[in-house]
Amino acid sequence: MLKSHNLKYIAFIIPALVYVSALSIFPAALSVYRSFLTPGGSYTFSNYSALLHYGLVKALIDTMLVSIGALILQLFLALFIAMIMVKPFRGNRLFSSLVIIPYGISTVVSAFIFSQIFSAVGGYANSFIVDFGFRPIDWVATSSSSLSVVVIADYWKNTPLVALILFSGLSGLSPSMYEAAKTDGAGAFRRFFSITLPNLAPIMAIALLIRGVSEFNIFALPLVIIGYNPPLITTLIYEFYQTSSTTIYYSYAASTILLFIILGYASIVLWKGGAKSYER
């Protein structure tokens, strides 16, 4: 319920509201609308049927695989980092700084670096492999190895943020809980699984939700490292957008599908999150 004097203060929020609406809701609606148009301006479903022909389903599945893979890898690494960051030890600050640095590095720079590590021929990863006497690997030869490279490259830029979120969660856990568990004779593993993990679960969920959406929208990294082969949903859209004034309508259709996937995901998250906050 809004009180009348609140209206005055809502006026302060209106510029920001109008701004984000004009630059995101309006264009998104435009995308949806144009996805049903031909370049000539008549209504059609052909943009959608063309997408199936151009491998939409595989792109979606690949995007999903990359997202899940990246989330698991990042969560795993971030958990270790956060657990080390909360411990007081000599070198903690150096360690924290070192693992946070990639957060500031441009996605394109990080993509460039990983494209040098995992090149088709040679590359720094293959240097290791050859040094140890194994046969070099063509990282972009198959679809699955290409996707793996994207997943691996993604840890660098995005793990720090997850680690920071988990760190704030871990610093919130009370030391007395651990002392009590120690007194009760719980070993390190026991403490991790029965104290750390369950108490960290809510904030881990938040980190997963935030990152989940971003992973699904991953664009610059695959574009630089593997180009359009295999396409993820975003690089597919970009390719259509670049190709011709006809295929741009395919990109509207693919955008619409991506939009609804994200909206669906977000509403599930909000609904679940909302239900949780009511339980409290």
Binding site: A16, Y19, I100, V213, N217
Partner: protein, 274 residues
């Protein structure tokens, strides 16, 4: 727990820290290798050496003389400034208003802003670029306007956190002392909330400096530094590109480390409650 607990009991901790440090430092190391190892030594075999066999500034000099650096960097700088400035121009009033309307209502708006933030960049960028083309905004202004979308929700959230930590009566006192709202804002509220505002500005600045999707779609030519770097990478001029990448990564690393201190200590929300 003491910092000086024995090495032995901390051994697993150190091993873990060292392994993770290597995992996170290695890519940066590769960037340094490519930049400073003489190109011929790197090209002797398809398998570049892990330990630098030589050292040179030639790549950097070559990059600076052969590639157009000042253009993209200047553009990136201006765009980042515009995005940071817009974050404050839109974010400070919005955060002020949200702080006034009560937590419950404010949270609904915050959720709305973050929902908008979830909108895929590429989905929004393509129709925007088509419209901006008509409006003559396929340039740095257009890029800045679009990038603002990415940073505005977080900026509002950070500045709001700062306002919430201020004692409420300070604003009232200023009003009673004869200041109108703009003066109260300028003389009391903004100076008192300056660390949160600074963090919001820096985060916006940094995000814009790194942003690629909107930049490449709205202004593919004569664009910002990440787009230019992408163009060089696709043209396979990797030594120059790496020199390029390294030089312009360093300032951002500094910003990131500075911000990490703020974010870790959370001093930007609680530091002013006196």
């Amino acid at each position: 727990m003491s910092v000086n607990s024995s090495w032995k009991s901390n051994l697993p901790l150190y091993i873990g820290a060292i392994i993770l440090s290597i995992i996170f430092f290695y890519p940066l190391y590769v960037l340094i290798l490519i930049t400073f190892v003489p190109a011929p030594l790197n090209n002797l075999s398809p398998y570049p050496p892990q330990i630098p066999p030589g050292f040179t500034f030639y790549n950097i000099i070559q990059a600076y003389s052969a590639l157009d650096l000042t253009g993209p960097v200047t553009r990136s700088f201006y765009v980042a400034m515009m995005v940071g400035g817009l974050s404050l121009a839109l974010g400070i009033p919005a955060a002020y208003g949200l702080n006034k309307i009560g937590v419950r209502t404010a949270n609904k708006f915050i959720i709305f802003f973050f929902l908008i933030n979830m909108m895929p960049g590429i989905v929004v960028a393509i129709p925007i670029s088509v419209e901006f083309l008509k409006l003559g905004l396929s340039n740095m202004y257009g890029v800045a306007l679009a990038q603002e979308l990415v940073v505005l929700p977080l900026s509002i959230f950070i500045i709001l956190g700062g306002f919430r930590a201020l004692p409420r009566d300070l604003e009232n006192q200023a009003r009673v002392d004869g200041a109108n709202l703009p003066t109260t804002m300028y003389r009391i509220l903004i100076p008192m909330n300056r660390s949160a505002i600074l963090v919001a500005f820096l985060l916006s600045w940094m995000t814009s400096w790194d942003e690629f999707t909107y930049a490449v779609i709205i202004s593919p030519v004569k664009s910002t530094f990440p787009v230019q770097l992408y163009n060089y990478v696709t043209r396979a001029v990797s030594f120059e590109a790496s020199a390029f990448a390294l030089t312009f990564t360093i300032p951002v690393i500094i910003v990131a480390v500075v911000l990490q201190k703020y974010l870790k200590s959370q001093s930007f929300t609680g530091g002013l409650s006196s």
